[in-house]
């Protein structure tokens, strides 16, 4: 693998991480902490939406994010032929 390829692989890796951590930040700190009172004005069933994100939803989304990351990285590894 030449240097240019290595750089392209690393940039794609960073881009993937940034996108997923963006979602991670919005869901946890955005919905669960910073804008929780705003979201709480919306009720879904017995939950206020902000409260649900804070005590349930954020954790489900964390889980999805890790599995999406693992899958996308496997694809990227294969594309650049650096997979194991």
């Amino acid at each position: 693998m030449d240097e240019q390829q290595a750089r392209a692989y690393w940039q794609e890796n960073i881009r993937t991480i940034m996108q997923l951590l963006g979602v991670w930040f919005i869901v946890s700190y955005g919905f669960g902490v910073l804008f929780v009172d705003l979201l709480d004005t919306i009720a879904i069933g017995g939950f206020k939406l902000g409260f649900w994100f804070a005590q349930q939803g954020s954790m489900y989304i964390f889980l999805i994010l890790i599995f999406v990351y693992a899958k996308r990285m496997n694809t990227i590894d294969e594309k650049y032929d650096v997979n194991e």
């Binding site: 902490v33 005590q55 954020s58 954790m59 890790i66 693992a70 194991e84």
Partner: protein
């Protein structure tokens, strides 16, 4: 069967299982001992990580904390799960590719410095010992509450068990015992939660019941809450009626404090050495990524049930206690009582308030976790906002008019304008410990809770002890003290180092046991210490090592020194010297200082590294190589 017999049976059987696994998975080399030979399946590793991560505090206290704090408990739920996203994306895969045994290994090699390595070893030891002391204490408490043995005897028993499987099996033994321990603790946690959810809401899954509606109407002391009300609405309404300033689903803590605390817990989680090291045990980089996902899946089962248990527990306390006649509710069951309960059950009615159904209340009153002071002398229990009496319960040894344990403390007056005066003081741990009895589950479920609490404490203690022993035998002895100055490699043979690792583990267990028997008196506060230090030291130093090729030895050492000193001094000043807040800067809480120190660490490290020479070429090549998965192979010592 008698409850005591069942508890001995469950705890004994689980201990025998752990020791059996340890003998089966005996470590034969340092690679086995430190990283289980590097061949652990990612799902198995995820499960072991979950057990490693979830401590006695997660199992016994977390639901109670969330129950007490309401929405403010969120910082702990999100902080202790969200860190796994950081771990999966920013640390685990690259550290796995790096392919060594310990976290100080990475710090020392990446920053080509034995000073950095030694600082890392000291951090590992300090963080892990503060944490392990709490675990041994947890073992002692479970023993004393469930088996009626002395706390100190409990600690010694716990030490003996950990000794056998950690010293003998190393990481290999620990990994497979942790899988067994995860199964025990998750079953013990979820079964009572499912029954509680079914009884209160009729929903099988606690996560669903949390947002569901209550099946039975109840009187909260001020008004009747009708059946069909949402659980959280019933709680909010009751909080309002009973004088609480803030409803259950709203927060008291400031946004900024919650934000800082959550960041510190997340970065701390991702930077805790005993968690990071678990990702060295899987065969490939791709396994490390997905294994973090499995770990979080297994952790989330407990962490998403936990806030539901907290809410159910809080609701149950109001619903079952309010204005209930103590003497009738907690008396020994007569044949008539039992017949009445069975008839009510057949008719689909709520039995929790019926005569003799409150024996759990008396049981936990006897062990000091619940106290009742009948302030208005009506023989009925009242629960509301505000304290019941001043100070810690001082029992006179006599029984009151209703048969309660008498307390000599001075009563606290009910706040003006509040309809109901509080008479009950409840230890937060009761939210988990008393659940099986409140839900009237069979005795074997109570026995299971005892085994589950021990599994949670032992699995975490073992993981921590292993990290302590490997940082001493591998990093300190192997890479610093007995380093061959010519080759830079260890002068110890593999067999010698393995012996040193076992010896270090044995000594660490003795120290941990001593700390468990003679707790420093501030176990709860030092946990904030462990997370703050991990967030301010390991998390940034590893991130920089991977993502900033230009980061050098000078930057890393300066960053760690500043991060550690700031966290240490701020916590000591604000927690131990003067908790009233004299030393607060910008009104930052001690719990959130790890976040600030982490940011300062990043800034200092950046500028110092740019002002000094770039790292040598071979280090820059190494950084290039850890960024690419191919060629991970087995982790190696040298």
């Amino acid at each position: 069967m008698e409850l005591q017999t069942l508890i001995y049976l469950f705890v004994g059987a689980s201990f025998a299982l752990y020791i059996g696994i340890a003998i089966w998975a005996k470590a034969a080399s340092t690679s086995d001992f430190y990283i289980a030979g590097g061949g652990v399946n990612p799902v198995v590793n995820g499960m072991a990580t979950a057990a490693d991560w979830m401590s006695a505090a997660s199992f016994i206290s977390l639901a109670g904390i969330v129950s007490l704090l309401g929405r403010d408990g969120t910082a702990y739920l999100m902080g202790w799960t969200g860190g796994y996203v950081l771990l999966a994306m920013l640390l685990a895969p690259y550290l796995r590719k790096f392919g060594k045994f310990t976290v100080p290994d990475f710090v020392g090699d990446r920053y080509y410095s034995d000073v950095a390595r030694t600082v890392a070893v000291i951090c590992v030891i300090f963080i892990s010992f503060t944490y392990v002391a709490g675990q041994m204490r947890g073992v002692g408490i479970v023993f004393s509450r469930f088996l009626q043995v002395d706390i100190n005897t409990g600690v010694v028993l716990g030490m003996a068990v950990v000794f056998v499987y950690a010293v003998l099996g190393g990481m290999k033994g620990i990994t497979y015992t942790q899988v067994a321990q995860y199964c025990v603790l998750i079953v013990a946690y979820t079964i009572p939660a499912i029954f509680l959810s079914l009884q209160i809401t009729g929903d099988f899954l606690p996560q669903v019941g949390f947002g569901g509606t209550i099946q039975f109407a109840f009187d909260n002391g001020v008004r009747e809450i009708p059946a069909g009300t949402y659980v959280l609405h019933a709680l909010d309404q009751s909080f309002k009626d009973l004088g609480f300033a803030i409803p259950y689903t709203e927060g008291r803590a400031g946004v900024w404090d919650t934000f800082l605390l959550t960041v510190a817990l997340m970065a701390g989680t991702a930077g805790l050495p005993h968690v990071i090291v678990r990702f060295f045990t899987v065969p490939r980089v791709r396994d490390a990524r997905v294994s973090a996902g499995w770990a979080l899946l297994f952790i989330s089962i407990l962490y998403t049930v936990c806030p539901a248990v907290g809410a159910f527990g809080r609701l149950n306390l109001i619903k079952n206690l309010q204005n209930n006649d103590y003497a009738v509710w907690t008396r020994e069951c007569t044949a008539d009582d039992l017949a009445n309960i069975q008839a009510a059950q057949r008719a689909g009615q709520d039995t929790a308030r019926m005569p003799c159904r409150g024996q759990w209340f008396a049981t936990w009153e006897n062990s000091g976790l619940i106290s009742w002071l009948d302030k208005n002398g009506d023989g009925k229990i009242q629960i509301a906002n505000g304290g019941a009496f001043k100070g810690k319960a001082a029992y006179t040894g006599e029984r009151g008019a209703s048969g309660e344990r008498l307390i000599s403390n001075e009563a606290i007056a009910t706040p003006a304008g509040q309809a109901v005066g509080n008479e009950v003081v409840v230890d937060r741990d009761i939210i988990v410990l008393a659940n099986p009895e409140i839900a009237a589950l069979p005795n074997w479920v109570i026995a299971l809770i005892a085994a589950g609490g021990l599994a949670a404490a032992l699995s975490t203690a073992a993981g921590l002890l292993l990290v302590i022993s490997s940082s001493i035998s591998h990093d300190l002895l192997g890479r610093v003290i007995y380093k061959d100055p010519e080759t830079g490699k260890s002068k110890l043979t593999d067999a010698q180092e393995l012996m040193a690792a076992r010896g270090a583990a044995a000594v660490a267990i003795l120290i941990a046991g001593y700390l468990g028997i003679n707790p420093p008196g501030f176990v709860a506060q030092v946990v904030a210490f462990a997370f703050g230090l991990a967030a301010a030291s390991f998390f940034p130093v590893i991130i920089n090592g991977i993502f900033d090729k230009r980061m050098n030895k000078e930057g890393a050492i300066a960053g760690m020194a500043v991060g550690l000193t700031l966290t240490f001094v701020y916590i000591v000043l604000n927690v131990f010297v003067d908790p009233s807040g004299t030393y607060k800067v910008f009104s930052i809480e001690a719990t959130g200082i790890g976040t600030i120190a982490m940011v300062i660490h990043f800034i200092v490290a950046y500028f110092v590294s740019r002002a000094t020479a770039a790292p040598p070429q071979d280090i820059q090549d190494m950084v290039e190589s850890i960024r690419i998965p191919r060629g991970a192979g087995e982790a190696t010592a040298h």
